[in-house]
């Protein structure tokens, strides 16, 4: 196979000037405009507030570079963990026939609705030195998780996992089981059908879920600060640094915020064409 897998031909429809719109009621335009401004104006505010002459210096400081590197690395590892763990979880949720699957799904969605700082505290109480699991880890292996880079990764994975699971589960449900049934009648074992049919079919959903998860990891703040603290080079990711800088050097915070905006824009550009559809 030479062509990339799972390219569903989607020809963008050209707007046709003959087309007569059914029309929107006038009253949706004002709140719609306000909503748009609410999202767009703060970014403009950042740009306006930015101290462009000091920008290179601010962005190239050791603290900033350390935070950027740490953020990218931990977000990448966390996204990978989301795929490796959340992928199979999505398959079980979409295809499994277990009792209590609905309850299971609600639990999986918990990090979406839980304040991240609560999640971080929960992780701390679980894996802290006196925690349920943490005590065992400490006694048996001498491992302490909190306030390490591993804790950052765990916190990010915790909050980002539902994004990947929900996106992928939707893709799996949309793809349905019909193709897998056809593969079975052609003699493909469940493992082969999964590898050659199911995965390629849901690849767009997986990609969009991964992009969303990565973006969520990059922006993670509450769970990280509660569970991993804020140590430069080890656990102080970009959002943590932004918050810290805000108190001492506002223009530094603005510069770092713009850096996060740029990363976010890249994520949207890379992930959007399929990403937004994967969400529906």
């Amino acid at each position: 196979m030479t062509a990339p897998p799972a390219t569903r031909a989607r020809v963008p429809r050209k707007p046709d000037r003959h087309e007569q719109s059914v029309g929107l009621p006038w009253f949706v335009w004002i709140p719609a405009g306000l909503a748009f401004l609410l999202i767009a104006l703060p970014v403009v505010g950042l740009l306006w507030k930015a101290d462009w002459s000091r920008m290179p210096e601010l962005l190239l400081s050791d603290a900033a570079l350390d935070a950027l590197r740490l953020s990218l690395e931990t977000a990448a590892v966390s996204t990978l963990l989301c795929i490796l763990l959340g992928g199979p979880l999505a398959v079980v949720l979409a295809r499994g026939r277990l009792p209590g699957l609905r309850t299971l799904r609600s639990v999986v969605l918990l990090p979406l609705v839980l304040p991240p700082v609560v999640g971080g505290l929960a992780l701390l109480f679980l894996l802290g030195r006196t925690g349920l699991v943490g005590r065992g880890l400490d006694l048996a292996f001498g491992i302490t998780v909190p306030f390490t880079t591993a804790a950052v990764v765990l916190a990010q994975t915790f909050v980002a996992l539902p994004f990947l699971v929900v996106s992928l589960e939707g893709a799996l449900r949309t793809a349905g089981r019909r193709y897998e049934a056809v593969a079975a009648t052609l003699g493909a074992s469940p493992a082969l059908a999964f590898r050659r049919v199911t995965i390629p079919l849901v690849l767009p959903g997986l990609a969009s879920g991964a992009v969303l998860a990565f973006a969520r990891c990059m922006g993670e703040f509450g769970a990280t600060i509660a569970f991993a603290g804020s140590l430069q080079g080890t656990t102080r990711t970009l959002p943590l640094l932004v918050y810290l800088e805000r108190e001492t050097d506002a223009s530094g915070a603005v510069a770092l915020s713009l850096l996060l905006v740029v990363v976010a824009i890249i994520v949207i550009v890379v992930g959007r064409p399929r990403g937004t559809e994967g969400l529906t």
Partner: protein, 367 residues
Amino acid sequence: MSLDVDVRLDRESFSLHVAMAAAPGEVLAVLGPNGAGKSTLLGILSGLLRPDAGHVRVSDHTVTDVEGGVFVPAHRRGVGLLAQQALLFPHMTAEANVAFGPRARGVPKREAEARARALLADVLPDVPGLPGRKPAQLSGGQQQRVALARAIAPEPDLLLLDEPLAALDVDAAPAMRSLLRRVIRDGKQTAVLVTHSALDALVLADRVVVLGRGRVVEQGPTRDVLGRPRSAFTARIAGLDLIPGVHEAGALRASDGTVIAGRDGEAGEPIGTGDPAVAVFPPSAVAVYADEPHGSPRNVLPVRLASIEPRGDIVRLRAAPRDGGPEWLDGLAADVTPAAVADLAVEPGCPLWFTVKATEVEIHPAG
């Protein structure tokens, strides 16, 4: 026997109890209205449903035996499926789709690809670059042809055809029907065809099983069952008049020598003179006269009225042969208005003339 089924499946509102068999190379049509249990039966055969009792044997292998605790999963049954939708894997080329089955059964890559190309050339000879195309680049009819190639590529012991023409538009269906006839029937592929079209059964199947509410209502050779339905139920399903015979220059010669004028119903498949064929026409195309019509270029059939069946706002008149008349007239139907019946002033036993225009009569290969 290549297929031997005797199964029972109970659901809350529905129960299926079917026994049927097919000889090697035989095509068995399962005919029935929606809700008769056709899809359930296919699910049981393909291994996607587990019956409550009974057994399924394919090529003398027991693939389901509830009492004996045998249930072979779908992918180890050697039972292929061609469904209403082509369901080609959208991320694979046509060739990769067709090669998928042989590859899954361990055929070496190059051999599987060669087989795929040969099959594609057979089902769609005039599409350039077909093997490398993605399903999205093919029309619905083309996709269904590729799906057929894919279904037969692993050389299944039994092929299930689930309304394979139902989703095609009227232009694509006849060509696909003759392709199925060539590939399945002439290729001696043992198959079960599920359909609610009497025409599909006529053209494709050796034998018919009529299913109603989960039970076998009638079964036997296609032309016998559909031509002379023994139950009103089958007659309703069939819903067509048909006359068996042999093809003869744009017409059909029935067993007693009567020539029925008509037109070839199948696109692309010439029928040879002397080949077995059937003349098919809808009962609504039949006009009924009490006296012999003259000077008409139509097919005129002398019959005796067997029964009058009111059906909503029309009346179906059933014919029987007159004394000494040919057997094949038995059961022919004509749909007329109640007013026409009143004008005719007839009752069962009266002689009548059924006439039908040659343009309404389609001649199909059969048998």
